[in-house]
Structure formats: C-alpha cells, structure tokens
C-alpha cells in the first residue's frame, strides 16, 4: 500500500497534468479565438490596445477557471462575454473619470459605446476581422510595426514568438507593438472597413504586410536558417482568411496564389545538411502538389476576376510557369520573359530588371542575359545587392568566362548576410576556380 504522502504527491501530480492539459487546450482555443475576440472588442472600444488588454484579461480568467470548471461548451462566447464584462466596467470607470474632467464631447461617445457593446458582439465577425486587419496594417504605421502588430493581434502570436521569428530581441518587438498602438491612437485611426478608392490603397498595405511576413519566413534575410516555415504558414493562413473575407478582390487571390506556389517548394529548397537548393536544381517530386494545385486555382480566380495584370497575380503567374513544368528544361522561359515585361511596365525597378535578365538568359542565351545585367551594374540601388554579382557570375560561367565568374561569386558571398547563402556562393566561386584550372 502506498503511503499517504505518496498518494498526495500522485494526486498533486494528477492535478498538475490535468492543469497542463487544460492550459494546452486554452492555448489552442486562444489561437482560434483571439483575433475574432480582439476584433469584436476593438469595434466596441475603438482602440486595439484596450481591446487586447480586455482579451488578455479574459484569457487570464480562463486560465484560472477552466482547469477546474472544464472548458465551456462555447469557449469563444465565454471569452467574449468575460471580456465584454470588463469592457463595460472599464467604460464606466472611464466615464466617471471623464465626467470629472468635464469632457462632455467624449462622454456622449462613451455612452454610445456601452450601448454598442451588446449589438457589436453578435454582428458579423467577418467585418470585425476585416476592420482589425485594416487597422493593424494601416499605412500610418511603419512596415515593421504593421508586421509585428498583425502577427500579434491577428495571428495570436506572443511577443516572444514574433521575436524568435524575426531574430530580434523580445524587447524590440514589445516596443514596436506598444508604439504602433500609440501611433494608431494619436492618428485617430478609426476601426472601419474602407470603401472605394481608399479600400484599394489600404488593401495594398494589408497585402504588403502579409507578403513581408511570408518572405521573412521564406528567405530569411539574416542568420543561419534558410527558411522559417512557421512564418510562411502564418502568412498563408492570413492570406487564406483574407481571401474568404474579400473574395472579389483579385489581388488577394494573386497573393495567395504566389504564396501557395512558393510554399510548395519549401520541402525541396533545402538539402540534407541545410544547404539551399536553387529552383532549377530542385527535385520536383518533392514539391507539394496540393499547394501547387491550390496556388494555380487561386491564380485562376484572380484572372477570372480580371486581375491578371495585378502585381501579385503577375508574380504568381511567373511562379506558376515553374510549377507547371515537370522538369527544369521544360520551363516556358519566353512566357516568363513576357510576364517580367509586364511586371517591369507596372512597377519598374532594378530588381525586376535583374530577374528579367535571368529569364532572358534562359530563354535567349547567356549573352543576351549578360547584356541586360551589365546595364544594371552602375545602378546605385543594386550596389550592395548580392544577387546582382551572383546572377552575373552565373551568366559569365555559362559563357566560359570562369575567372570573371569566380570574382563575381566571391563578391556576392561578401555581400549576403545569410550564412547559408554565403556558403553556397563560396562553393560556386570554388567551382569556377576549378573550371578555370581545367580550361
């Protein structure tokens, strides 16, 4: 028979296990519910900061109560109800305070807020979510601030998780989020779903944020990881949600298509020892064909909505050319050149020109590509861009000019901050050196 103390310990352990299990469930529920919760509350109280605090209060209450009471049947409604309660308290407290300061104008506003509270909870959550997305991605905020705030309030990520994703100190992310909320407040940014011309511009800002998150995960700009898939998944999820919220916006589908197709290569672009494998060298059997199908379907939707010439749809169309080719040799390079022509007309930039030069090199021979790249060498904005010498080195190598190619690869290696990419470029340089000896 076990001693009473052992039994007590076992019981305590059983409780701990149950608590840990409940906490895991709560964490999962939080991930599911937090965006809707914060969105509904922001509509009610007007600012993301307060809404998030209220939502956090509700989370704390859940962590205190659910391990013993069990998870309620409708956890989302429970969290909203709890937060709403606190919101009413808070609004009353603020009202009293403001009455003291005789802020009559704002007072009426607050009165209205209490009344709005009930109405707002049961309204279409889709509009709430959209309002929150537009607010968190408001152009008044810097890109970094938009990204951090979006991941926090829409992705339900903790400050620590965001910091880990972007390899920056936790305190920087925390500060970014605090400052972002303050900026929104000071600029009196309203919780709304913009219409007409403003909507187009604001939507552009939202798409930019989602794509930034995706790219940060897809081609980590610094550090030892080549990809951070969690960020890609988060961006994809946000994109898919947005596509459901605004199904008639072609560029949203264009962006989703672009991300789905790029994400389809995640399993193929890293070798066994973590080294990057470039697109044309990838084993296409490792591509995720489910994501490719989804990407092509999203692209088709964008085109059907008349958005074939949108910047994201065009990039997706280029990615689709690769996705459709069973082998690298079957790639429709002339079509890719044509698509880059369209991109260059829409948004001319040296980086686009560089990509176009690569496609021209593939479609019409390395000499034609090199002519275009050479024209970009003097471009000031590309002076520190490692891909310029990398592309140039590649074309020179194909033309048999190994010595020149080698110094270009070496230059590219010295310019990249990504450790893994640097190794790849150094290997290219070494290969050119060997070729030079042989020739």
């Amino acid at each position: 028979m076990r001693s009473p103390s052992t039994r007590a310990r076992d019981e305590a352990f059983a409780i701990d296990t149950a608590t840990a299990e409940a906490h895991r469930a709560i964490e999962a529920i939080w991930r599911i519910e937090s965006a809707r919760l914060i969105a509904g509350l922001t509509r009610t109280v007007g600012d993301i900061g307060t809404a998030e605090e209220l939502a956090q209060d509700a989370l704390v209450a859940a962590l205190e109560q659910w391990p013993t009471s069990g998870v309620p049947e409708r956890p989302g409604a429970w969290l909203m109800g709890t937060a709403k309660h606190r919101a009413t308290d808070l609004t009353r407290r603020r009202k009293t305070l403001e009455r003291k300061y005789e802020e009559l104008g704002r007072d009426t506003e607050r009165d209205q807020q209490v009344e709005d509270l009930d109405a707002s909870i049961d309204e279409d959550v889709g509009d709430d979510l959209l309002g929150l997305i537009f607010m968190a991605c408001h152009p008044v905020l810097s890109k970094d601030a938009r990204v951090a705030l979006t991941l926090r309030v829409l992705g339900g990520l903790t400050t620590e998780e965001i910091a880990r994703g972007f390899l920056v100190p936790v305190s920087s992310i925390a500060q970014r989020i605090v400052r972002a909320k303050r900026t929104l407040d000071e600029a009196h940014v309203r919780f709304e779903v913009p219409r007409g011309a403003e909507r187009v511009a604001r939507l552009g800002s939202v798409l930019e944020v989602i794509y930034l998150i995706f790219n940060e995960g897809y081609s980590a700009t610094a550090g030892t990881d080549w990809v951070r898939p969690a960020l890609c998944e988060e961006a994809l999820r946000l994109g898919r949600i947005l596509a459901e919220l605004v199904p008639t916006e072609p560029e949203v589908h264009g962006l989703v298509a672009l991300m789905e197709i790029h994400a389809s290569r995640l399993g193929a672009r890293v070798g066994p020892s973590g080294e990057p494998i470039l697109l044309l060298d990838q084993d296409r059997a490792l591509w995720d064909h489910l994501l490719i199908r989804r990407g092509l379907a999203a692209l088709e939707r964008a085109e059907r909505l008349g958005g074939a010439m949108g910047p994201y749809a065009l990039q997706a169309a280029i990615a689709a050319c690769h996705a459709r080719a069973a082998t690298a040799a079957e790639t429709d390079w002339p079509r890719i050149v044509a698509l880059y022509d369209a991109v260059a007309q829409l948004a001319p930039s040296p980086v686009v020109e560089l990509n176009r030069a690569v496609a021209v090199g593939m479609a019409f021979g390395p000499a034609a590509g090199l002519d275009l790249v050479d024209a970009l060498v003097a471009e000031p904005s590309l002076r520190a861009y490692h891909l310029l010498p990398a592309v140039r080195g590649d074309l020179l190598r194909k033309l048999g000019r190994s010595a020149e190619a080698r110094s270009e690869f070496e230059r590219a290696a010295s310019l990249t901050e990504n450790v893994v990419e640097r190794k790849l470029l150094e290997r290219r340089a070494a290969e050119c050196a060997a070729e030079g000896m042989a020739g």
Binding site: A28, I32, P229, L236, I241, E244, D288, R294
Partner: protein, 115 residues
C-alpha cells in the same frame, strides 16, 4: 502542421440513410467556419465500403478483395485535411463539429525535412 482527420464509418456516415437536412446545414456551417479560418486544405467523403476494393500483397502475389468488410468501426467514411498550428488546435476545432455520435481520428502528417 498538417493533420488528417478521419471519420470512422461507425460514426455519422451511414450510406443507406442520407443525413437530415438540419444536420447537413449544421455541418456546412461548421465547414464554412473552418474554411474561413484558413484551416481546410481538402476534404472528401468516401463512397461506402461495399463499393470499395482492397489489394492484399503476399510476396509476388496480389489478391483483390471486394467490399464490404466486417470491421465497420475501423472503416474510413470521410476525411479532412487541415492546416493547424498544433495537434491541440486540431482537437479544439474537431470538438466543435456538430456530430452527436461516432469517432473521429486526428493524425499528424509527417513532413520531410525542412517542410
């Protein structure tokens, strides 16, 4: 992470009895919610095992066995392919499904390195 959610035949899908319209509506509402949350990558309902075939491998020999099969509780009637952030998230979603009977199985799909 990607998970496969399997509905076991003993569960709700009895091919002989089509689901009530209200049940269908509830199911559709739930499925819509999943799609709107960016969770669903794919879904499908399987035709009854009486129309299914099995292939048994024994060395070089292949034997085709016609359905239906006896172990009804283990038969898959339908599936969902979900993108979630954790197995716990999948469980929380699944618990919200509007079914009043049956068993559902959640299995993580293992991905190759780097995926």
């Amino acid at each position: 992470m990607r998970v496969l959610v399997l509905a076991k035949e003993g569960a709700q899908t009895d091919a002989a009895a089509p689901p009530r319209p209200e049940a269908m509506a509830e199911y559709q509402k739930f499925n819509e919610e999943l799609v709107k949350a960016g969770v669903v990558l794919g879904a499908g309902r399987l035709s009854p095992s009486s129309q299914g075939k099995r292939v048994r491998f024994e060395g070089k020999k292949r034997t085709v066995i016609d359905g239906p099969w006896a172990e009804t509780k283990e038969l898959v009637a339908g599936y969902w392919l979900w993108q979630v952030r954790s197995l716990d998230e999948a469980l929380e979603w699944l618990k919200r499904a509007p079914y009043d009977g049956g068993t559902f199985e959640v299995r993580e799909i293992s991905q190759h390195e780097g995926a």
